[in-house]
């Protein structure tokens, strides 16, 4: 193989990490394989499903479309940065309470997308929420409950 490794420093969930990664590895692979942050899910690897959504310097991105080396110096937030048990983040709590979670595989990506939305727009309309999560696929078809959950979380934080 002989691929050279690139050193990079990223702040992941508040912690500065220095890593050496091959140049072709995505941010998604870095998170899942090198840092064992498996809460971020892999599905389509082409930026269509949203399962791998994380916050890169506060902006929601598909981590499958970002090279790890591009994140050098950046601040990353993954689902693991939210609560890891009760009391949950209002979004997490609303997702459980409102029945937004079925198989759960899309949920970390959904929540990170919603996190980004609420940071920019703390009181979104229903249409805003639908627009925001339209890039996150849920094959269990729980969209109504997901939208309700995001609205409820926004309401809870009012």
């Amino acid at each position: 193989m002989g691929t050279s490794l690139h050193e990079l420093s990223v702040t992941v969930n508040g912690q500065l990490r220095t890593l050496r990664v091959p140049p072709h590895h995505t941010l998604l692979r870095m998170l899942r394989d090198d840092l064992d942050l498996t809460g971020t899910k892999e599905c389509c690897t082409e930026g269509e499903c949203g399962a791998c959504t994380v916050l890169l310097d506060g902006t929601a991105v598909d981590s499958c479309l970002v090279l790890a080396v591009e994140a050098d110096g950046a601040e990353l937030t993954t689902i693991e940065a939210l609560a890891d048990d009760e009391p949950l983040d209002p979004l997490q709590a609303a997702f459980v309470e409102r029945g937004a979670v079925q198989c759960g595989f899309c949920i970390p990506g959904m929540i990170m997308t919603a996190k980004s939305l609420l940071a920019d727009n703390p009181q979104p309309s229903r249409a805003d929420v639908v627009e925001a999560v339209a890039g996150n696929l849920c094959r269990c078809g729980g969209y109504t409950f997901i939208v309700e959950a995001v609205l409820a979380a926004a309401e809870a934080e009012r």
Binding site: C43, A51, I79, Q102, G141, Y143
Partner: protein, 761 residues
Amino acid sequence: MTLRPGSPFGESVPRAGGIARVTGALRYAADLKLEGMLHVKLVHLPVGHARINGIDATAALEVPGVRHVLTAAGLPSPVPRFGPAFHDRPVLAAGEVKYYGEPVAAVAAETEDAAAEAAARIAVDYEEVDGAYTLDDALARDAPLVQGPELRPDDPLARTNVLREWRYGWGDVEGADADVVVEDTYEFPMVSHFAIEPFAVVAAVQDGMLTLWSPIQHPFVLQRVIAEVTGLPMSQVRIVVPDLGGAFGGKGYPKYEPLMAYLALQTGRPVRLVLSLDESFQASRRAACRVYIRTGVDAEGLLRFQDVEADFQIGAYADIGDRVVSKASYTATGPYRTPNVRIRARSVLSHTLPSTAFRGFGVPQLAWALESQLDEAARQVGLDALEIRLRNLALKDEEFIPGDRRADGRWEQALQRAAHEVDWGKPVPEGRGRGLAMGLKSSATVSVTNAIVRLHYDGSVSVLVGTTDMGQGSRTVLGQVAAHELAVPVDAVRVVLGDTSVVPFDTSTSASRSSVFSGNAIRLACEDLCAQLRSLAAELYGVAEEEVALEDGRVRFPGHEVTYEALLREYFGSSRGELLGVGRSRARYLPGHPLGGAPSFWEVVAVACEAEVDETTGEITIHKLVTVSDVGKAINPKHVEMQDEGATVMGLGHTLMEHLILDERGLILNLGALDYRVPTAKDLPKDLRTYTVENGDGPGPFGAKGAGESGILAVSPAVAAAIREAAGVEIRDLPLTPERVWRALRERDGAAGPLEQAARV
């Protein structure tokens, strides 16, 4: 029915495992990492059908980090074959690739990168040959045969691509007179399960057991298959099922697990395979179907006869495809009383990826035809869609399939509720149309579920049962059943699933059977346990057993009460111990029954829709969509709602946008999320609602029936009917894409202008 105060039965208890899903802590199969694990990549060819002359792995083995390359030559000869019914699928392609995506080799390496590079360096000498990629190809007189005739020497169909032909019927179709006869052909495409969790398998030899971690719906089927292909006894094969990231039928039966078992055995290392989404698309699909249907009704709109011929395009290997055909076609005439019926259904092999179970198990394909045709018959006799259904719908306890389970619900309530919710009978807003449809699915037939309930020394409870939680929420619902039966809070109960070395046998997580079968097995196990508690209390305190009541986690009898914990402490003393309840729920094999056993319940839905069409683009807007499912009794109403709505949304997918498109060489042109569209949050009807009918008339706990599939059964005909009323176009081919609708609009207007001609290119 009366519930004790505080019973969680019928309550919308939040999802068990919900917190692990919102924190990212839940480890799905692809999240597992074992010490010393090798990474596996598959090799497949860009062909639909090819002969393999040889495979050269020399260059692959030179890639640093590569530990093993497996081809058919490295497997026992003849190559082991497996399948739930027909043992026709090889562990790796042997001499021939029969569908696009069939693996011909597998590479195991220290890193994913090395495995991928090596897989790309495997040199396969192959020759593309003619294949049967469509139903017409496969049924042609000189069609290339998918299966060698030697595999079924005594079968008169052996020299055709028809794997099986199923015939059912009653009455006399030829002799039946009718005032109106309608006939048509309806098409339903191949669609992909597209669970967001791709397929993943980890295998290792651990503690003297070959262990596989797989998101498989039916762990005990996989255990049997692995034992069969490896020759190991079942006691040395352990299947662990991490909770699944969606399955919908697609993860029911073994696919790459036998290959992974061989890789673990041959390398002596843990091995891990995570399929890409494109590869997952090449691992499972729904059978495409063409249904010719002829219906006769009298002047009153009463059904006189139906004649149904359905060809299901299953794939290159049978998987469970033939059972889909036999079971779905058995109920091809739906929930109606049809006095004269003739059904012929064929499972047709083709050089395409094997189809398998998919939510609805073949019924959506047939309901599409049946319900659409019923509307046409209604129009011709001057009835509306509600009236013709009400006149023909089987009433409670009516025998609608001769000799089989009678109508087990008041299905007219579902139909009337659905109609009411879309203001059926009132004027339709300008430019819109309404549609109505029903669906009926046979539930599980012959099957078994065991349950073990352990009351621990501290009063907490473990429920061990063999079903799996793939998102439908069995863990939650089954915990509620146990908590109710044992009179303890739901928090005191843990439901253990998905490890064949721990949980007792269960036939399958399919056919919406878990709430009923696992629920009943758990109920019986709890009854067993409660009897022990009473008898123990009677023995310890010298009271009559019938005086002992179990409430609030306590044993009560006149003048005294004691917690379960205290009772067990007193009984077992310093030795400590536990009480064990065992239960079994079973639906028997009936040799004379066409399905091998009677359905345990009928899963029935009514769907109503109001929609409009954009005349310039052909785009459909659904203003309102309502499903009403007869669930008997909702153990957890929220979970039922989530399942019903999810199934409905999935039904909208195959109605409006989903279809796998194959080219003339059998390659799938739209693998993956970019080219294969599924509904997003923006594709929902403006108003989407699901309701239930609950009369407690099912065979499960407190009259529950299974739920979760009904929502998908009849979305397509309801939407198409609304489109027909709105725009005057009738489309008999799914999905109802804007392009297809637009063409139908042009055809309606009799115009084949330059735009239309250009679009035909």
